[in-house]
């Protein structure tokens, strides 16, 4: 066989073998076997010396082309096999995406604290400072500074846990008012604060009473505070908490430390004021108490009521949360059943 034929036959066989290969290893082996230094092409070229000199360039070109063609065949096949391999891997790695997740758990903030912080954020936005105050308070701040002297009948309205004649568990976060007014430097601008926290009353625990509950007291003292300011502020609050369509109304009331005093009702968010079980068919829900700071309270804190006036309000986060989420038993807040706690994930 001529060298020429030999090379051509090697090319044919090589390409054929490459096409038939099933595994990458076969192709690698083929490359080494056919194209390597010890391979048949190299061997065949040793017979070059027998080829007449004028034919040698032609044979040389042929040999290179043969190598190139085989190389190309091997590479094509390799690409094909690689693609198959990837496709196979992808097939292998297919999963059932409907199987349940590996659980990543975030805890749930207590619904009362969610409610409180929502209200805090509202007032912070209006420039109020948050001052929590003491849970054990002096009779002086809890009562006397709020215009409730020792024999005042209003002391009956809130039965008190005393620690001694002068110390008690605060019955209202209003107890913070005196301390804040004393500490405030009015040359630096108005006093605007809210005071959230726990308060205590001598009540038997039942569905609507708890010997411990939360309150948020608000107080603004400045030169021009009016009932209209109080109404505007509380309406904005009620809209923030209960929805943009809400309205509020004032009803006259009595608290020793405010004059005038009002109860504040919000239009029912459940029935839009048409009347339902939640609003007891009145269209209105009582949500908080408020008023203008009593001049005596200002005076006792060294503030001249002829120059300054104040507005104060007190609201109950328990009541807000019970209304908003339809919670029927105040004790649920303090049992901490995780099924109760976790249903409020991210509501505020």
């Amino acid at each position: 066989m001529s060298l020429d034929d030999k090379l051509k036959s090697l090319r044919e066989n090589g390409i054929d073998e490459a096409k038939r290969a099933q595994r990458l290893q076969e192709l690698n082996d083929l490359r080494v076997n056919l194209l390597g230094k010890k391979g048949p092409i190299t061997k065949a070229l040793r017979g070059m010396k027998d080829v007449p000199a004028e034919q040698r360039p032609e044979i040389g070109t042929l040999a290179n082309n043969v190598k190139k063609d085989i190389q190309q065949a091997i590479e094509e096949k390799m690409t094909e096999l690689n693609e198959k391999l990837v496709a196979h891997q992808l097939e292998e790695e297919k999963i059932d995406v409907t199987l349940p997740a590996a659980k990543q758990v975030q805890g749930t903030k207590h619904i009362l604290n969610q409610t409180i912080e929502d209200i805090e954020q509202f007032f912070i936005g209006l420039g109020y400072e948050v001052a929590p105050g003491y849970e054990v308070e002096e009779d002086h701040y809890n009562f006397e500074r709020l215009n409730i002297p020792k024999d005042h009948p209003a002391r009956d309205m809130q039965d008190t846990f005393y620690l001694s004649d002068e110390l008690l568990m605060r019955t209202q976060t209003s107890a913070q008012e005196g301390r804040d007014m004393e500490a405030h430097d009015f040359t630096k601008g108005p006093l605007k604060m809210i005071s959230p926290g726990v308060v205590y009353r001598r009540d038997d625990d039942d569905a609507t009473h708890s010997h411990q509950f939360h309150q948020i007291e608000g107080l603004v003292v400045d030169k021009n505070i009016s009932m209209a300011d109080l109404k505007g502020t509380l309406e904005a609050l009620c809209r923030h908490v209960f929805g943009a369509q809400r309205e509020i109304r004032f009803r006259p009331s009595y608290f020793p430390f405010t004059e005038p005093s009002v109860e504040v009702d919000v239009s029912c968010f459940n029935c839009d004021g048409k009347g339902c079980r939640i609003c007891k068919y009145t269209g209105w829900i009582e949500v908080l108490g408020a008023g203008l700071t009593h001049p005596n309270v200002l005076k006792m804190s060294g503030i001249d009521p002829n120059e300054y006036s104040g507005m104060a309000f007190g609201l109950g986060p328990e009541r807000f949360a019970m209304l908003k989420y339809g919670i029927n038993d105040i004790r649920d807040f303090y049992l901490n059943d995780v099924r109760f706690l976790e249903q409020f994930k991210g509501v505020n």
């Binding site: 199987l99 659980k103 805890g107 009948p153 568990m169 001598r202 030169k223 109404k231």
Partner: protein
């Protein structure tokens, strides 16, 4: 108090429904609700009993013929023991509706036809406890003839329309019909008119049958008496009785009823005494002696020296302003009567009434205050009413025990200041008009107004009271909505609150649910975790043993939550609480309030699932959470865990104190198995961190450093060491000897057991060396590593493996 519309109409015109009135009064003054009595009642008429015969087949039933205004008398079978011929009675005719859905139908009773029912008052809606005693076990009988067939509702007040006003303690002026008429009148711009009571002047005599002495003049500013001689006590008129029973007061006799009626009419309590029953004809108002007894109908009250009493000689007639005893009670045989109108100190009345559990209509009024401008007139009115119904022969002049002139309050205000506080711009005329509706007299002098307040409004004292009156009558609904317009302020939380929120958020991120527990604990609970060793703080008068002490740890509350949940099959729990504990330093009355952050984890932290195995909580899991919290405290302080068996309810081998720069800031560990069992909780790990202490350390000065550009070099070290040597000791020794390029040391293996000598453990550490400014050479690292190994061998006798 319930304001009857019929009664109110004597003073002001009323054209609105009770619903409308209640709504309007609620918005302008006092919280009110409508009350409509007897809306369900039908078919009730006056009957005249024309004959009564025994029932042929019954001992107690009677067969009556009754004239109900129809052509023929109807036959009714009646079981009441008091039914008799010629009575005028209430008849429920065929088809009548009674309260509670009862319907009357024609029928037969033991064979005898019965065409209706003769009724008792309680059967037509008057509560049994408010109806006259004589009718308690039978039918009601009218005192006077009535026209048969007339509807009975108006006669008996069965369908009265009322407005129930729920007063605040400052508005006791409306605890009388006249005061309520002023208030409701102001709402509708109607001034009430009242008739002045008058006595028959011919009967008034200088009687000197009784003396009076008020010992406690400061507690009894007014004390007036009138004597009525030779009265004939009987029944009070029906109009008065029906008003009383609709007020929840039982009619008794013409004297007591008149006294009660005046209390409702004027808000001034009146007492009546039978003069002939007095041991001594002298009334003395004084403090009781300890042990004195007041005789009441069903019990004796033992009095003490703080109680103000009305006495006559040795007899105690009553506790002043609260209740009369039985000693001088007016009954049907009484002849000579004393009527008393006084004003008693509210606080004194309140305490005595509370002490003896005797709060009632009279004490309620004195506690809140009465109008001392009408004491005398109210007494005249009571005297007049008694005289009208019980025909006195002679009436005394006013007998004065004490008298204080009632002076109207004068308030000065400024129209502009009042407007300014309301946020309104009313004209002087508008403002004066509103004050006039309330019955106040106003003098205007430019911007200044001088307002004279009648004595019935003793709650009015200062300009702010005028603001309230003007604003509420003007209508709160007419107020604009504005926001305070002063200087801008920067709001926000305190730094400490920001700090504690940050730490709390770490726990939320770690999957822990937030709990809120009670601050008041039982004695046992404060004993259980008295880790601060401070004094306890105890309530003076706790309500229950469960809530007696102020908490000194948050752990008992969290354990209670774990138990509550696990009892309900919520087994895997991870909860925390951020709240205050109370620690009272010795010799200090007031406890310190310290913010704490505590957590408890029980059960699995990784649940069994299709591709993971369940993983139970252990010490190191919780420690990882605590470390993460501590890493957020923004401090340079050095934190350490120190094994402790100091806490009796914690596992002695799995508990540590958490130290910051050597100071205890918390604890972490497993609950003692015995404690777990006692509290019905599964294996539970807890921690507690003192936020206040951590906040004090919160002063890290951070200077940013760029991340190192040179590679670090690592060495692993495995050692065999005695079991009681702690990891922290080894780590701290490695750091001490590792030279300045030792950057980090972590433990990556702990092994005890098979193939290891008893009482020994194998530990393996990963040391990382780094020079931020240059590439480390092998020699440098090897040198430091050798020093580390040498020291460990020397100090802890370790075997390098």
């Amino acid at each position: 108090m319930k304001i009857s519309v019929n009664w109110l109409k004597e003073y002001i015109p009323v054209t609105h429904t009770v619903e409308e009135m209640a709504n309007k009064i609620s918005l302008t003054g006092i919280e009110s609700s409508p009350v409509e009595l007897g809306t369900e009642l039908t078919g009730l008429v006056v009957g005249h009993v024309t004959s009564v015969k025994p029932h042929p087949d019954s001992d107690h039933l009677k067969v009556c013929m009754v004239d109900v205004g129809e052509d023929e008398d109807i036959q009714i079978v009646c079981g009441a023991p008091n039914v008799a011929v010629d009575q005028y009675v209430i008849v429920a005719t065929h088809g009548a509706h009674l309260p509670d859905g009862v319907r009357i139908k024609r029928g037969k009773l033991r064979g005898q036809e019965s065409n209706g029912m003769i009724c008792g008052l309680d059967e037509v809606g008057v509560p049994a406890k408010y109806m006259p005693e004589e009718f308690e076990n039978g039918i009601y009988v009218f005192d006077e003839p009535q026209k048969p067939g007339t509807a009975v509702y108006d006669l008996l007040g069965l369908k009265d329309q009322m407005v129930d006003i729920d007063i605040t303690p400052n508005r006791a002026d409306t605890l009388g019909m006249r005061g309520a008429a002023w208030e409701i009148g102001a709402t509708y711009d109607e001034k009430p008119s009242f008739k002045k009571p008058k006595l028959n002047t011919d009967k008034i005599k200088d009687l000197n049958d009784v003396d009076v002495e008020v010992e406690e003049k400061s507690l009894v500013p007014d004390y007036l008496l009138r004597e009525l001689k030779d009265v004939k006590v009987g029944k009070s008129p029906l109009w008065m009785q029906r008003r009383l029973w609709n007020q929840g007061i039982r009619p008794v006799n013409s004297v007591i009823d008149a006294a009660n009626y005046v209390m409702i009419e004027y808000g001034q309590p009146i007492q009546a005494y039978d003069l002939d029953k007095l041991a001594e004809k002298k009334l003395v108002i004084k403090k009781a002696h300890d042990g004195d007894k007041l005789k009441l109908a069903d019990e004796d009250k033992v009095l003490n020296h703080n109680d103000l009493i009305v006495a006559a000689g040795e007899d105690i007639l009553g506790v002043a302003g609260i209740v009369n005893g039985t000693v001088a009670q007016v009954d049907d045989n009484s002849k000579n009567i004393l009527l008393e109108a006084g004003v008693f100190d509210g606080a004194s009345v309140r305490k005595t009434a509370q002490r003896h559990d005797l709060r009632g209509d009279a004490s309620n009024r004195f506690e809140k205050g009465v109008d001392n401008g009408i004491v005398s007139e109210a007494l005249v009115r009571a005297t007049q009413l008694v005289d009208e119904t019980s025909a006195a022969k002679e009436i005394s002049k006013e007998i004065v025990g004490n008298y204080t002139e009632a002076k109207p309050t004068v308030i000065e205000g400024s129209v502009s200041h009042i407007n300014h506080l309301m946020g309104l711009e009313l004209s002087t005329d508008e403002m004066v008009g509103i004050l006039d509706r309330l019955g106040f007299t106003v003098k205007v002098d430019g911007d200044k107004i001088t307002v004279t307040i009648p004595t019935r409004r003793w709650d009015m004292a200062i300009e702010a009271d005028l603001v309230e009156e003007v604003n509420r009558i003007y209508g709160y609904e007419n107020l604009p909505n504005t926001l305070p317009a002063g200087m801008e302020t920067r709001g926000g939380y305190s730094q400490k609150r920001e700090f504690s929120n940050k730490l709390r958020d770490v726990l939320l991120g770690e999957g822990m649910d937030e709990a809120i527990n009670f601050s008041l604990l039982s004695k046992k609970e404060v004993d259980d975790f008295n880790v601060t060793s401070a004094e306890y703080t105890k309530l003076l008068h706790p309500m229950t043993e469960d809530h007696e002490y102020l908490r000194n740890s948050l752990i008992p509350g969290l354990v209670r939550n774990i138990a509550y949940n696990q009892a309900r099959n919520n087994k895997d729990l991870s909860i925390f609480e951020q709240a205050r504990i109370f620690a009272r330093p010795k010799g200090q009355a007031r406890p310190n309030e310290i913010e704490y952050l505590s957590g408890a984890i029980s059960g699995n932290v990784m649940l069994d699932s299709w591709n993971t195995k369940a993983q139970k909580v252990d010490f190191y899991y919780l420690k990882g959470i605590v470390d993460e919290v501590l890493s957020f405290t923004n401090t340079d302080a050095k934190f350490e865990y120190e094994a402790t068996d100091d806490y009796s309810n914690m596992h002695p081998g799995q508990t540590a104190k958490i130290l910051a720069n050597g100071q205890v800031v918390g604890l972490i560990g497993k609950l003692h198995p015995k404690y777990q069992k006692d509290h019905n909780v599964d294996e539970t790990f807890v921690f507690e961190l003192n936020i206040d202490a951590l906040f004090e350390l919160n002063k890290k000065s951070i200077k940013s450093q760029s991340a190192p550009k040179y590679p670090s070099v690592s060495r692993d070290l495995a050692i065999l060491v005695k079991s009681d040597v702690e990891n922290a000791q080894i780590i701290s020794d490695i750091y001490e000897n590792g030279g300045k390029y030792l950057n980090d040391v972590t433990i990556f293996d702990v092994y005890e057991g098979k193939n290891i000598k008893t009482n020994y453990k194998s530990l393996a550490y990963h040391l990382e060396f780094l020079n931020p400014n240059d590439t480390l050479t092998d020699e440098e690292v090897e040198k430091a590593f050798s020093l580390v190994k040498d020291s460990l061998v020397e100090k802890f006798n370790v075997e390098i493996r």
